[in-house]
C-alpha cells in the first residue's frame, strides 16, 4: 500500500514537516524532524530509482484522478536520477546544518531555517517528480520562495539584497515559464507533460508553440543561471548561510536544468528544438561565454565562496554545452555532469561552511596556512577541487570525458579543445586555494581553533568520498545518465 504511494509521499512528507516545525518552534525538534523527513525522501527516491530501473517508468495519479485530468506524478530514468541527487544532498545537508546554523543564525530563527529547508526540498522534489506542467510551476514557486528565505537568513546584511535580487529575477523567470506553459495550453488544451508531448506534433511549429519554447527557455535559463541570466547567483551563494549555499548549489540549478531537459526533449521533442529555432546554437554560444568568462572571473575573486559561485556559473555552462550538442553523448555528459557537479559543489560548499565557522570568513587572507590547523578540511577541498578540474579518479573527469567524446563524435574538435582548455582555468582557481592553504605562512588574520565540528566534517567527507567514488564506479551515474539520454532522444521506451 505504502510503496504504491511512494511518489506522493516523497514530496508530501517534507512538505508536511515544514508547517509542523513552525507550529512547534523548537530548534532541536525542528532539526530532528528535518533530518527525518530528508532521510525519508532519500530512501523513497532510492526505492523509486530501483523500481524504475527494474520495471520502467512509474505513473502515479494524484488523488486517483487519472491523467490528463488529474495531476500525474511520473518517475522515469531522468527524473529518478535527479530525485536521487536532490534527496541525497538534502539528507546530507540536514544533519550538517545543526552546528552550522547554530553558529550562523540567531537562536529564534533556527526552527525557521529547518522549516524552509523542508519546504525547499519538497519544492525541488515536486518539480522533478510531477508530470504536470502547471503543477511544476507551483512547485517551482514553493522552491523559489523558500530559497529567497534561505538566502535572506544569512547573517551578512547583504544577504537581504542578494535575496531581493534573486526574488526579482526569479519571479521574472517563473513568470516567463508560466507564460510559456499558458501558450502551450492554448495550442494543445492540456497541461499534462506526456499529453503535451503527444499533442504537440499535431499543433506543429506554430508561432504560439515557438513562442512557448522561447519563453520557457528564457524563464528556466534564469532559474538555472545560464549566462547572461546568472547575475543573481554569485551574491546569493556568497551571502546565504553556509548550509543553505551547499544545499542550493548542489540542487536548485540542477533541478532547473532538469526542467529544461524535460521540456526540450519530452515536451517539444529534439527535432522541434533543433530545427525550428536555433536553440542549440544559442545554448552553445552562451555556454561558451559562461564557461570562459565565469571561470576567468572566478580566478580573481577575493572570497572563496564567491569564487565557487562563479565556478558554478561556468560549470552550468558545461551542462548546457552538453544539452546544446543534442546527441546521445552530449546529453549523457549533461546529465552526468548535473549529478557530478552537484556532489562536487555540494562537498566544496559544505567544507567551506566548516572553514567559515572556524575562521569567521572565507576571504583568501584568512585562508593563509589553513592546512596546518584544518588539515582534513583542506585535503577535502583539494580533492573536491580536483573533481572540479576533472582530474581522472574523480567524478568530474567522467563528465569531461563524455563532453569531449560528444564533441569529437559530433566532429566539433574545437568544442573539445574549448572544454579541455577551460579546465586549465579551473586549475588556476582551485590552486589559488591550495597555494594559500598549503604554501602560505599564516597571516595576522588567521586565528583558527582547529577542525570543524565532527558532524560537519563527517558529512562533508561523505560528499568528498562520493566525488572520488563516482570517479571510479560509474555504473550508477553513467548508466543512469545514458538511459536518461536515450529516453530523451526517444531511442528507448
Amino acid at each position: 500500500m505504502t510503496l504504491e504511494h511512494l511518489p506522493a509521499l516523497q514530496v508530501m512528507v517534507p512538505l508536511a514537516a515544514a508547517p509542523l516545525i513552525v507550529l512547534l518552534r523548537h530548534a532541536g525538534f525542528a532539526w530532528a524532524l528535518a533530518v527525518a523527513a530528508s532521510l525519508f525522501a532519500f530512501g523513497a527516491s532510492l526505492a523509486l530509482a530501483l523500481e524504475v530501473s527494474r520495471a520502467g517508468a512509474i505513473s502515479y495519479a494524484m488523488g486517483n484522478w487519472p491523467p490528463p485530468w488529474g495531476i500525474e506524478y511520473r518517475v522515469d530514468a531522468l527524473s529518478a536520477f535527479v530525485l536521487v541527487l536532490v534527496s541525497a544532498v538534502g539528507a546530507l545537508v540536514a544533519p550538517y546544518a545543526r552546528r552550522s546554523v547554530a553558529a550562523e543564525l540567531p537562536r529564534e530563527q533556527h526552527y525557521l531555517y529547518y522549516a524552509v529547508h523542508c519546504l525547499c526540498l519538497a519544492g525541488l522534489l515536486g518539480m522533478t517528480i510531477t508530470g504536470d506542467a502547471f503543477n511544476l510551476f507551483v512547485f517551482m514557486e514553493i522552491a523559489s520562495l523558500s530559497m529567497y528565505v534561505l538566502i535572506a537568513l544569512g547573517r551578512d546584511r547583504r544577504a537581504l539584497l542578494a535575496s531581493y535580487q534573486y526574488l526579482i529575477l526569479g519571479t521574472i523567470g517563473a513568470t516567463f515559464y508560466v507564460i510559456g506553459v499558458g501558450l502551450l495550453y492554448l495550442a494543445t488544451g492540456t497541461l499534462n507533460i506526456a499529453d503535451l508531448a503527444a499533442r504537440l506534433p499535431e499543433a506543429q511549429a506554430t508561432r504560439a508553440v515557438l513562442a512557448a519554447l522561447a519563453f520557457i527557455t528564457v524563464g528556466v535559463s534564469l532559474k538555472l543561471a545560464l549566462f547572461p541570466l546568472h547575475l543573481w547567483l554569485p551574491n546569493a551563494y556568497a551571502y546565504a548561510p553556509s548550509a543553505a549555499t551547499a544545499f542550493l548549489a548542489a540542487t536548485a540549478t540542477k533541478v532547473s536544468v532538469y526542467v529544461l531537459l524535460r521540456f526540450y526533449f519530452t515536451v517539444f521533442g529534439a527535432p522541434l528544438v533543433v530545427d525550428a529555432l536555433p536553440v542549440p546554437q544559442i545554448l552553445t554560444g552562451l555556454s561558451i561565454i559562461a564557461i570562459v568568462s565565469a571561470s576567468l572571473v572566478a580566478v580573481w575573486q577575493a572570497d572563496l565562496k564567491r569564487l565557487l559561485a562563479y565556478s558554478s556559473v561556468a560549470q552550468i555552462g558545461y551542462i548546457t554545452l552538453g544539452i546544446g550538442m543534442a546527441t546521445r553523448d552530449g546529453l549523457t555528459a549533461a546529465v552526468v555532469h548535473l549529478f557530478n557537479h552537484g556532489i562536487t559543489k555540494g562537498a566544496l560548499f559544505l567544507l567551506v561552511g566548516g572553514i567559515a565557522l572556524r575562521a569567521g570568513s572565507v576571504d583568501f587572507g584568512r585562508l593563509r596556512g589553513l592546512a596546518r590547523t584544518m588539515p582534513l578540511t583542506c585535503l577535502g577541498v583539494t580533492l573536491a577541487g580536483l573533481s572540479l578540474i576533472g582530474v581522472p579518479g574523480t567524478a568530474g573527469f567522467i563528465s569531461k570525458w563524455y563532453l569531449v567524446l560528444g564533441a569529437i563524435e559530433a566532429g566539433q574538435a574545437w568544442l573539445a579543445a574549448l572544454v579541455v582548455l577551460t579546465s586549465l582555468i579551473a586549475v588556476a582557481y582551485v590552486w589559488r586555494f591550495v597555494e594559500a592553504a598549503y604554501l602560505s605562512e599564516p597571516g595576522s588574520g588567521t586565528a583558527v581553533a582547529g577542525e570543524a565540528p565532527l558532524a560537519m566534517l563527517a558529512v562533508s567527507w561523505v560528499m568528498v568520498a562520493a566525488c572520488v567514488w563516482f570517479g571510479f564506479d560509474t555504473s550508477f551515474t553513467v548508466q543512469g545518465a545514458r538511459r536518461a539520454a536515450e529516453l530523451m532522444l526517444g531511442a528507448a521506451p
Binding site: P392, I408, L424
Partner: protein, 484 residues
C-alpha cells in the same frame, strides 16, 4: 602469491606504506623504517613478477569497469616490467640517500616528504603496469599531483613559482593534448587496451593519425619534448632526492615510457612506418637533444645543468622510438634503465655536494674531488656512462640507437647522436676535470663527505652503473621483447 596478487601488492605496498609513514610521523626512525620496509617489499613484489614475464607470460589484474567498455586494469608486459624494476629498485637506494640528505640539511616537513614519495611510487607502479590508456592516464595525473608537494617542499616564492610551472606544464599538456588524444583514440578504435601491433591500424587517414601522434607526443609533457620542457628545470627547486628519483627516474621515465608504449602498443610500429606519419618526430626529438645540450653547456648551476641533460637524454628515447626499427626501439627501452642509474648517481652527487659543502654552482667545484673522493668518483662514473663510453650502459643504448638509425637510413638521427655525444662530453668532463685536477679555491671552508647514507647510496648506484652491462641479460631481454 599469484601474479595478479603480486600486481595488486605492487600498487598497495607503497600506498599503505604512505599511510604507515603518516602514522609514524612522530618517530623519525620508525618512519624511515617504514619507508625502507615498503621500498624493499615493493622491489620484492616486482622482482617476483620477473620470471613470469621473462618466460613470456602476461600477468593481468582487472579491478573494475570505470567507463562502459574501459576497465581499470593492469597487465605486465616487458616494457612495464623494466620500468617498474628500475623505479622500485632505485627507490630503496634513494630512501637511504634521502635519510642522509633530509637529516643532514635539517629539512622541514619530512613526514609529508616521505608520504608523497611513497604515493609517487604507487602512481609509478600504476603507470608501469597499466593495461590501457585510461588506467595509464589516471596514474599519470596522480603522479603529477602527488609530486607537486615535493617540488614546492620549501614553500618559499621560488618553490611556489617552480610548482606553478610544474603543474602548469604537466597538467596543461596532459589535459589539453593527451586527454583529447585518448578520447579520440577511443572514438576511432573503440578500445584503449595496449595491444602488440597497435589498435589504430586502418581506423583513420594518415593525416588524422599524424595529428593524433602530435597530440600524444606533446601531450606527454613528462617526456619533456621541446617546447614543453620548462617544467623540468623548474622542478629543480625540490630537495635533491626528489630531483634524483622523481625528476631523473620515475616522473620523466613515466613520460618516455608512455611515449614508447603509445608508439608500440597504440599506434603500432608498422602502422606508423607504413603511413610515414611519424616522420616529423625524429626532427623534433633531435632538435630537443641538441638544444637542451647547449643549454646544459651554458648552465653554471649544477642541478640545472643536470636537468637540461635529462631533457636531452629523454629525447634520445623519443628519437629512438620514432625511428621505428626493432633495434632502435630496443635501444629506447634499454636507455630508460641506462639513463636512470647514471643520472640518479649524478643527482646524488650534486645533493651530496650541497649537503657537505653547500655548493650549487659548477664554477665552485674546483678541487672538490680531493675532499669528496667517493662522491666525485661516482659522479665520474655516471658522467662517463651518459657520454657513452664503453663498456658502460650508456654506450650500449647509444650503440643500439646508432644501429637503428643506420637501419632506418636516417642521416639526421646519426648526426644528432654523434653531435650530442660531443656535447655530453663538453658539459660533463669539465666538471670532472675541475673536481680532480684543479686546486681548491682560497677561503673554502674545509669539509668532508656528506653523511654516510648519502655516500653509500651514490656508491651503490655508481656500482650498479658499472655492473649493468655485465648483468644486461635481463634488461636486454626485456628491451628486445618490446622491440620485437
Amino acid at each position: 602469491m599469484t601474479p595478479a596478487q603480486l600486481i595488486a601488492a605492487a600498487l598497495l605496498v607503497p600506498a599503505t606504506g604512505a599511510a604507515g609513514i603518516a602514522l609514524a610521523g612522530r618517530w623519525p626512525n620508525l618512519r624511515e623504517g617504514v619507508t625502507l620496509a615498503a621500498a624493499a617489499a615493493l622491489f620484492a613484489c616486482v622482482l617476483a613478477l620477473l620470471p613470469t614475464v621473462l618466460a613470456g607470460g602476461v600477468p593481468q589484474l582487472f579491478v573494475l569497469e570505470m567507463l562502459p567498455g574501459i576497465a581499470l586494469g593492469f597487465r605486465v608486459e616487458p616494457l612495464g616490467m623494466l620500468f617498474a624494476l628500475v623505479a622500485s629498485g632505485l627507490w630503496i637506494v634513494n630512501s637511504v640517500y634521502s635519510i642522509g640528505y633530509m637529516r643532514g640539511n635539517d629539512e622541514p616537513h619530512q613526514t609529508r616528504f616521505y608520504v608523497c614519495f611513497a604515493l609517487a611510487l604507487a602512481a609509478t607502479m600504476g603507470i608501469a603496469f597499466s593495461a590501457n590508456l585510461l588506467t595509464l592516464f589516471l596514474f599519470y595525473e596522480m603522479l603529477t599531483l602527488v609530486t607537486w608537494p615535493l617540488v614546492t617542499h620549501h614553500g618559499d616564492d621560488d618553490a611556489k613559482q617552480g610548482g606553478r610551472l610544474y603543474l602548469g606544464f604537466l597538467l596543461g599538456t596532459s589535459i589539453t593534448f593527451l586527454l583529447p588524444a585518448i578520447i579520440a583514440t577511443w572514438a576511432l578504435a573503440g578500445t584503449l587496451e595496449f595491444t602488440p601491433g597497435g589498435i589504430l591500424r586502418g581506423t583513420a587517414s594518415g593525416s588524422v593519425i599524424g595529428g593524433l601522434l602530435a597530440l600524444y607526443m606533446f601531450g606527454i609533457g613528462k617526456a619533456a619534448l621541446m617546447p614543453f620542457h620548462r617544467w623540468l628545470p623548474a622542478a629543480m627547486v625540490a630537495p635533491t632526492p626528489v630531483s634524483a628519483l622523481l625528476h631523473a627516474v620515475a616522473v620523466v621515465k613515466a613520460g618516455v615510457f608512455t611515449v614508447v608504449k603509445v608508439v608500440v602498443y597504440v599506434f603500432g610500429v608498422e602502422t606508423l612506418a607504413g603511413i610515414r606519419a611519424a616522420d616529423w618526430l625524429p626532427a623534433v626529438a633531435g632538435f630537443t637533444i641538441v638544444a637542451a645540450s647547449i643549454v646544459a653547456l651554458r648552465s653554471d648551476n649544477l642541478k640545472r645543468r643536470l636537468a637540461y641533460s635529462t631533457v636531452s637524454q629523454l629525447s634520445y628515447v623519443v628519437l629512438a622510438a620514432a625511428l621505428l626499427t626493432p633495434l632502435s626501439v630496443a635501444g629506447a627501452v634499454f636507455h630508460i634503465a641506462a639513463h636512470a642509474v647514471g643520472k640518479i648517481t649524478l643527482f646524488f652527487a650534486a645533493g651530496a655536494i650541497y649537503t657537505a659543502a653547500h655548493k650549487t654552482e659548477v664554477s665552485q667545484l674546483d678541487g672538490i674531488g680531493r675532499r669528496m673522493p667517493w662522491t666525485m668518483g661516482a659522479f665520474t662514473v655516471g658522467a662517463l656512462s651518459l657520454i657513452g663510453i664503453p663498456p658502460l650502459p650508456g654506450f650500449l643504448s647509444k650503440w643500439m640507437m646508432f644501429q637503428g638509425a643506420a637501419q632506418a637510413g636516417n642521416g639526421m638521427a646519426l648526426a644528432v647522436l654523434a653531435l650530442s655525444t660531443l656535447l655530453n662530453a663538453a658539459y660533463f668532463l669539465p666538471i670532472v676535470h675541475a673536481a680532480f685536477w684543479r686546486a681548491p679555491r682560497e677561503g673554502d671552508a674545509p669539509h668532508g663527505e656528506a653523511p654516510w647514507p648519502s655516500v653509500a647510496a651514490l656508491v651503490v648506484t655508481a656500482a650498479a652503473t658499472i655492473a649493468l652491462p655485465f648483468a644486461s641479460a635481463v634488461p636486454l631481454a626485456l628491451a628486445r621483447a618490446v622491440g620485437g
